[in-house]
């Protein structure tokens, strides 16, 4: 803790841009440190024997262009790394057999780092495949040069084009959320707003197996425009659901049918979600330690599992890895220390003030300038707040992208030029803003 405090004392003294640069670069370093350079797979977490998460690979592929732009990585080396990753997926086994890498162009959520085979009997994941593909397409947009980069683009588009989105409808109007070779399609009963907008944009924009354009309207059927804590919002509790699709897509000024009806857009809705988190933290109904307008970030993440001890006679419990949300809950006082900073493109002042407050008060959440997945000051271990071990790749990737979108709008500029994203969003009913401009 002493080392962490010393490093952060330096970090926190930096002006905003230098602070962001340092934290962004440290976050990016995760991909260099916890990957398999041969096949491009990246570990879900920094913990020993962690498998690869395909979503983390998607973030990594999106971050290599940022690293090139920032001068942290040579373009050629980055292109080689991206191509190696794409070639792994292109060459990996796709079949109904339970130990392969994917099926119908989709991929299993978790793969073993060495050979890329399915682990943990996990599901063929639609949303995680979408995040992986978003990374592939982002890299293909950036690497627009000759030689290796030609091949890179060709493989990326081939991988995207082979995904059989219509199969994943399973005869219904909206996508299943997953599939297992043992039991078939999975329906988690998703209802209301969540992180899946990019999934639908990619699926509807496919040149080969597109979903019907109406599927997005069906998907949004349970959306609820709500005045909550005095703030108008399309509610979703976990903060990450307001960020994931936005890491790639600039939602400023573009609106689908739902947002036209309520005279808003998804970018402003994320601002509302931030306002709700801050208001909730200020009201702090459960009296959790630390919560205030400058300390929030209730989202999906690690928690003090195995500590299901009673805090009060109301039998309040801590949770392990869980999707937390505010104000409906669940909320056990666990905060994701990366989450405030990940909102920097939406509410820079709040994100930076919150992050600086966090670093001053709980410097131990940012070891080696890299944020942990979660901490909980209500659960004290060895005189320190409970802290999630190591780092999670998703958190790091999201931070790299969101800081870049704040600093330069780089990823958003790239994807505004994507015919896939433009086609998908337009078919899904989005219009206005940059969608009305020529690419």
């Amino acid at each position: 803790m002493g080392a962490a405090r010393r490093i952060l004392t330096n970090t926190i003294d930096l002006p905003d841009d230098a602070l962001l640069d340092r934290l962004q670069r440290a976050a990016f370093a995760y991909f260099d440190r916890f990957n398999n350079a041969e096949n491009g797979l990246v570990a879900d977490t920094s913990r020993p024997n962690s498998p690869c998460s395909i979503a983390v690979v998607g973030f990594a592929l999106s971050c290599y262009p940022i690293a090139v732009r920032r001068g942290w990585l040579r373009r050629r080396a980055a292109a080689h790394q991206v191509l190696a990753t794409l070639q792994f997926f292109a060459g990996s086994a796709q079949s109904e057999q339970p130990d392969k890498t994917g099926y119908k162009g989709f991929y299993y959520h978790f793969l073993d780092m060495q050979h890329g085979r399915r682990v943990w009997q996990c599901e063929l994941s639609l949303i995680d495949t979408a995040l992986l593909l978003a990374g592939m397409l982002t890299a293909a947009l950036f690497f627009d040069g000759e030689g290796t980069e030609i091949e890179l683009r060709a493989v990326a588009h081939a991988l995207y084009s082979r995904v059989d989105w219509t199969w994943a409808l399973n005869g219904g109007d909206t996508l299943a959320q997953g599939w297992r070779p043992e039991t078939g399609f999975l329906h988690y009963g998703w209802e209301g707003y969540n992180e899946a907008t990019i999934l639908y944009a990619l699926a509807i924009g496919s040149p080969t197996h597109p979903l019907p354009a109406t599927s997005f309207a069906k998907w949004t059927f349970t959306y609820q425009w709500e005045n909550l804590l005095g703030i108008d919002t399309l509610y979703s509790g976990p903060l990450f659901t307001h960020l994931f699709s936005h890491a790639w897509i600039d939602f400023r000024g573009i609106r689908d049918q739902f947002m036209r009806g309520v005279d808003s857009d998804y970018f402003n809705n994320t601002k509302s979600a931030i306002a709700i988190q801050r208001e909730y933290a200020a009201r702090n109904p459960h009296g959790f330690i630390g919560y205030c307008r400058d300390l929030w970030g209730i989202t999906a993440g690690d928690g003090p599992r195995n500590h299901e001890k009673v805090l009060t006679p109301r039998d309040r419990r801590f949770y392990g890895y869980m999707s937390r949300g505010a104000p409906y809950g669940p909320d056990d006082g666990t905060l994701a220390p990366w989450a405030m900073l990940a909102t920097v493109p939406f509410e820079a002042a709040a994100a930076l003030a919150g992050t600086r407050h966090l670093l001053r008060r709980y410097p131990e959440v940012c070891i080696e300038d890299r944020f942990s997945s979660g901490f909980n000051p209500n659960e004290v271990e060895r005189d320190a707040p409970w802290l999630s071990e190591g780092w999670y790749g998703l958190d790091q990737g999201l931070l790299v992208m969101m800081i870049e979108n704040y600093r330069s709008g780089f990823i958003w500029d790239l994807t505004r030029g994507s015919s896939v994203i433009r086609t998908g969003l337009s078919r899904a009913g989005f219009s206005g803003g940059w969608l009305d401009d020529a690419p």
């Binding site: 039991t183 209301g192 349970t222 309520v262 109904p285």
Partner: protein, 494 residues
């Protein structure tokens, strides 16, 4: 331990109960040559219809095959809510230290005492349904199995009752399961649950609908180790996500082991235990329990009625098919309550019973689709709803905005230490018309009635915001939602 005939009410008011709902010395009335109305079923729908018809001066016969009062009194709302209350009393003791009580031990539920209390309550409420009370209003009450003879007459035992109009209000019964081995292993349903004579140490509840959730939580509060298994991704599939998720957390807090997305593949016995084999999205496992409660919905009671003989159609799911005016395919026969309504609740049964009489005898036709129906699941917190859900409004292309107040921001809820939940009021956007509401709160069952009155009286959000409520009160959250509406109007103005 569970045969239906071993009703624990025996010795605890059972005689008085039966005296009211199925008198042993009942003298079957002489049947008239022709009744204005013959009612089949003496539950909430049939009873309400009989009273309404007599108020119009009509001749009425009512046939009940078992006990008056229907599912609600005998096997449904009344006994289940009595158990819920016992569970809450025990839970309150466990949590009493938070309110200043000195250290208390773990109270143990005595299932015998719990059931005796339930029986006393049931007997007391049964007076409302009594055969003698009904007969005193001029209704001819027949006990026995009814069977349509043709399109204009019903037989009950030896008597044949001819009618001008008839009402089928035979209610519903627990849906049977096709789980392999479950019938052989033995299980409880709402029809047999209230005959329990010992507290199951380990109880499995199959089904995450209202009764399943209520009983899972109540038995957990009373000390059982409860596992609830639901094949869908959430509990209370008919309610919205935010309500169902609060319930999931609440069940977990009560110690209930919740298993969603779980298919039950078989039930069997091993080593004197009941074993349930289950599959959760590909992961197979087994759990051992002492009792199994099956609560997977209810199906209409239509067997033995010879509906075909009276030209009365059924829907694919077995309910009697009615139009919006409760008329069956036989123009002289109406239906009401659980036997025909998709939502099988006592308040709907009672309302549709009255409505059927009104429509059958020349009143200005009333549509059951226009009913404002409040309903509640009596878990802690309670989950209540009235009117439209968001998806109903979207289906009808009604633009809607929801005004939400969290109970954690409501003074009375904070004071009571009961601050889980919310009030959500759905408003037709561009107006102040309330089209529906969901309330999750410790007294949501009472609060939702305020919304029902507001909707019935067509009181808008502007007026509601000015209505003074007692302070502090849980229902103040309703007024606060209306004030949020008024505030949003001010913000909207340029």
């Amino acid at each position: 331990m569970l045969p239906e005939e071993r009703d624990p009410a025996a010795g605890h008011g059972q005689a008085a109960f039966l005296e009211r709902v199925r008198p042993s010395d009942w003298r079957t009335p002489h049947a008239r040559a022709l009744y204005d109305l013959v009612i089949v079923g003496g539950g909430p729908a049939g009873h309400a219809a009989a009273i309404a018809a007599r108020a119009l001066g009509l001749s009425v016969a009512l046939i009940e095959r078992d006990r008056l009062g229907g599912n609600s009194l005998n096997k449904g709302s009344v006994p289940s809510k009595a158990l819920v209350r016992s569970g809450r009393a025990l839970e309150a003791i466990v949590n009493s230290q938070a309110f200043g009580a000195s250290a208390v031990g773990d109270p143990l539920a005595d299932i015998g005492l719990v059931m005796q209390r339930m029986c006393r309550i049931r007997t007391r409420i049964a007076e409302h349904w009594s055969a003698k009370g009904l007969a005193a209003t001029g209704v001819d009450v027949f006990f026995g199995r009814a069977r349509f003879m043709d399109e204009t007459s019903v037989a009950v035992d030896a008597a044949q009752l001819r009618f001008k109009k008839a009402l089928v209000a035979t209610g519903a019964q627990p849906r049977r399961s096709e789980i392999a081995g479950l019938e052989d292993v033995g299980h409880l349903t709402s029809a047999t649950l209230f005959h329990l004579q010992s507290m199951p140490k380990r109880l499995a509840v199959i089904g995450g609908g209202p009764l399943g959730c209520e009983m899972a939580q109540a038995f957990a509060h009373m000390g059982s180790k409860v596992t609830i298994l639901q094949d869908e991704p959430k509990f209370l599939p008919q309610e919205e996500r935010d309500a169902a998720e609060i319930l999931s957390l609440s069940l977990a807090r009560a110690g209930v082991d919740t298993r969603l997305n779980t298919q039950i593949t078989a039930a069997r016995r091993a080593n004197g235990e009941k074993i349930i084999d289950a599959n959760n999205v590909g992961v197979e496992y087994s759990i051992a329990v002492d009792e199994i409660l099956l609560s997977i919905g209810r199906v209409a009671n239509t067997d033995d009625l010879n509906l075909d003989g009276a030209a009365i159609d059924r829907t694919e799911c077995g309910d009697i098919r009615v139009d919006d005016y409760l008329r069956t395919s036989n123009a002289d026969v109406f239906a009401a309550g659980d036997v025909c309504m998709p939502h099988k609740f006592a308040n709907i049964a009672e309302a549709t019973g009255r409505m059927a009489v009104h429509n059958a005898f020349g009143g200005e036709p009333q549509r059951h689709g226009a009913l404002i129906i409040p309903r509640c699941t009596f878990c802690d917190p309670e989950i209540a709803h009235v009117g439209m859900h968001i998806w109903d409004a979207h289906r009808e292309q009604i633009p809607v905005k929801t005004f939400t107040v969290m109970m954690q921001d409501t003074d009375r809820a904070i004071i009571d230490g009961r601050d889980d939940g919310f009030v959500k009021i759905h408003v037709k956007d561009g107006s102040d018309e309330i089209i529906g509401a969901t309330i999750v709160a410790s007294r949501a069952s009472e609060m939702i009635n305020e919304i029902a009155v507001i909707m019935h009286g067509k009181i808008g959000m502007r007026a509601l915001a000015t209505v003074m409520h007692t302070y502090p009160a849980q229902s103040d959250a309703i007024r606060m939602a209306a004030q949020a509406y008024v505030k949003s109007l001010r913000l909207r103005r340029p």
